[in-house]
């Protein structure tokens, strides 16, 4: 369970590295938080891939059974157009599970590059990039996204790029801190004395040794990405109807809650978003417990 028996990868020979990796995986599988988180996330990943092919009803089919209560035929009831809520919730997994991970990946890749550069070179490069990062961080994610979405139009790709770029400085900050801890360890000056170029040292020597904080940061970011995508979709800036999507289901139906009836149109998609975010956070917690030395 503890990471104490996993020695830092930097001092290991290749054979010992693979032993250490197996140890880490075993420790992860023993972590309840990590396993439970994975079960939840994999459930949604399964439905994101399976989509409407396996749902009990067609998520897009409109029926005369408008706003039916949850029961034996429609397990979670139907919405204002008579569409099956359960099928729409299950099929809705795909819209957020495409955008959020891709946006996170983009942010992690760009952020790692920026973080490696600023941490490795320090000095004027670091100072100036850090100031720009500070300026970007002064604006809340949702506001930049609202502005950029209005500017660049409504498409999935825009959403991915916007969130990815906003995540870049946040990831860069973490990576930079990790690089600063590593850059004075013996193997870095040694590589420099061997005459290796800066890009080689950054990506071949440093990067493998700071993968752990990057993985943790990426998982945490994924949670935020799901949040951001849901918030933007709720504001009407994400996927458009009639695509099944959790946040869209909520924003379409929350007006119906006045009077307290028709709660099933909102409750189930809300639980779906929450469970996915909880799942991702559990994975992040498990990773942090095992990987952080």
């Amino acid at each position: 369970m503890t990471a104490a028996d996993v020695a830092p990868a930097s001092v290991l020979q290749p054979s010992e590295t693979s032993v250490a990796r197996r140890e880490t995986i075993r420790a992860l599988l023993r972590s309840k938080t990590f396993v439970v988180g994975n079960v939840i996330v994999l459930f949604w990943v399964f439905w994101a891939i399976a989509g409407s092919r396996l749902t009990p009803h067609d998520p897009l089919a409109q029926t005369p059974d408008v706003l039916a209560r949850p029961g034996t035929h429609y397990w979670l009831g139907t919405d204002t157009l008579g569409r099956d809520v359960l099928s729409r919730v299950l099929a809705g997994a795909s819209s957020v599970l495409v955008v959020a991970p891709l946006a996170t990946l983009l942010g992690v890749v760009l952020g790692t590059i920026v973080g490696l550069i600023t941490g490795y070179f320090r000095g004027i490069v670091d100072e100036s990039i850090s100031r720009v990062i500070d300026a970007v961080l002064a604006l809340p994610l949702i506001m930049i996204a609202v502005t950029a979405r209005a500017a660049l139009g409504l498409s999935r790709a825009t959403l991915i790029v916007v969130i990815g770029i906003i995540f870049t400085p946040l990831v860069a900050r973490t990576v930079r801190a990790a690089v600063l801890q590593e850059r004075d360890l013996d193997y870095v000056p040694a590589a420099r004395l061997r005459g290796e170029r800066a890009p080689y040292i950054m990506f071949v020597e440093l990067l493998p040794n700071i993968m752990q904080p990057i993985v943790v940061e990426g998982t945490v970011r994924l949670g935020y990405a799901i949040f951001a995508v849901a918030g933007l979709t709720f504001l009407g800036l994400g996927v458009q109807p009639p695509t099944p999507d959790w946040a869209l289901q909520i924003s379409d139906n929350y007006g119906l809650l006045t009077g307290g009836s028709y709660w099933w149109t909102v409750l189930f998609p809300a639980l779906a978003v929450a469970s996915l975010v909880v799942g991702v956070n559990l994975i992040a917690d498990g990773l942090r417990q095992v990987l952080d030395r």
């Binding site: 002064a138 604006l139 609202v146 500017a151 949670g223 918030g231 504001l235 946040a247 929450a274 956070n281």
Partner: protein, 318 residues
């Protein structure tokens, strides 16, 4: 200390200049013909050109930026593109005040609540009460704020009818009526923020309890109460202040969604409307105001942090 302050304020100013460029650049990304947007598809090209010229959007970008900054430095935010004749400030000023009221109420509620909860959980690490606080906090942060807000409306506004559902109090209402109207949206923000702040306070407490100075204090015979008050709390609160400051940024951004659910005329709503209507003047000024609020909040937090942290207070650099 004063050297640290000067350096910190200098950095904030540099960030502010970069922020203004960034905001201007983002707003310039907005494609589309401003004049055409304002006048609609049936206006003649001539009148569109004329309006563009009048608004100055046909000039080169750097020229527009220079004019913008020049006007800003005189406190002039310009005129709205969409609402002809109304100044940007007359649209954003009241909205900013509304948002700050909501944010202030949320902070007044959440900061003591989360710190007490977090410290309490930290002191009872591993026991049932700790688990309850930690799991509740984590679950609350996992629910998007619009969901929390809707649930609160349904329970306290619709079912129990304890609190008004509209965030905006009738014009001319007294202080307490305004607070009453703002309670539901503020609670929604409290529920999202509680987890983050309580988590930091808990982690800080556990770390402080585990440290050498706490052990020394206990070993030299100080009472548990004194140890907690003098040694644990002070050190546990340091990281908490840092997280409160970063959450200010979230808070103002999160307001967009909350303001939409409660239909509250705050700065988030204004910026959202300005972005959808391509009202550059309002959009730029709005983003800048939000950025400045964030910068001021983090600056204040840094100053507070350094005032409480002897290592920074007595250091000459950094």
């Amino acid at each position: 200390m004063s050297r640290f302050l000067l350096k910190r304020i200098g950095l904030a100013l540099v960030t502010l200049v970069l922020l203004s460029m960034l905001v201007f650049a983002i707003a310039q990304l907005l494609p589309g013909d401003v004049g055409r947007n304002v006048l609609g598809p049936f206006a003649t090209q001539q009148s569109v050109d004329q309006l563009n010229h009048q608004l100055g959007v046909d000039r080169p970008v750097y020229d527009q930026y220079a004019t913008w900054v020049d006007h800003l430095s005189h406190g002039d935010l310009g005129e709205s593109f969409q609402y002809q004749g109304s100044s940007v400030w007359s649209l954003l000023g009241p909205a900013l005040v509304n948002s700050l009221k909501l944010a202030a109420l949320a902070f007044v509620l959440v900061v003591p609540l989360a710190i007490v909860g977090g410290v309490f959980a930290g002191l009872r690490e591993g026991r049932i009460s700790d688990r309850v606080i930690t799991v509740t906090g984590l679950s609350l942060t996992a629910v998007p704020e619009f969901v929390t807000a809707i649930v609160l409306i349904v329970i306290f506004g619709v079912a129990l009818k304890w609190l008004p559902v509209t965030a905006q109090a009738p014009a001319g209402s007294g202080f307490f009526t305004q607070v009453e109207h703002l309670l539901l949206p503020a609670f929604a923000l409290v529920m999202v923020l509680f987890g983050y702040i309580a988590r930091m306070a808990r982690a800080g407490t556990i770390e402080a309890l585990d440290s050498d100075y706490t052990r020394t204090a206990s070993l030299k015979g100080l009472s548990q109460q004194t140890v907690v008050r003098k040694h644990v709390l002070r050190n546990a609160l340091l990281p908490t202040i840092a997280v409160v400051a970063t959450q200010t940024g979230y808070l103002i951004g999160g307001l967009v969604v909350i303001e939409k659910v409660f239909n509250y005329p705050g700065i988030g709503q204004r910026i959202y409307t300005a972005a959808t209507n391509k009202d550059f003047a309002v959009l730029e000024a709005g983003l800048l105001i939000v950025g400045v609020v964030y910068l001021v909040a983090t600056l204040l937090a840094d100053i507070l942090y350094s005032a409480l942290n002897p290592r920074i207070r007595h250091a000459t650099t950094e």
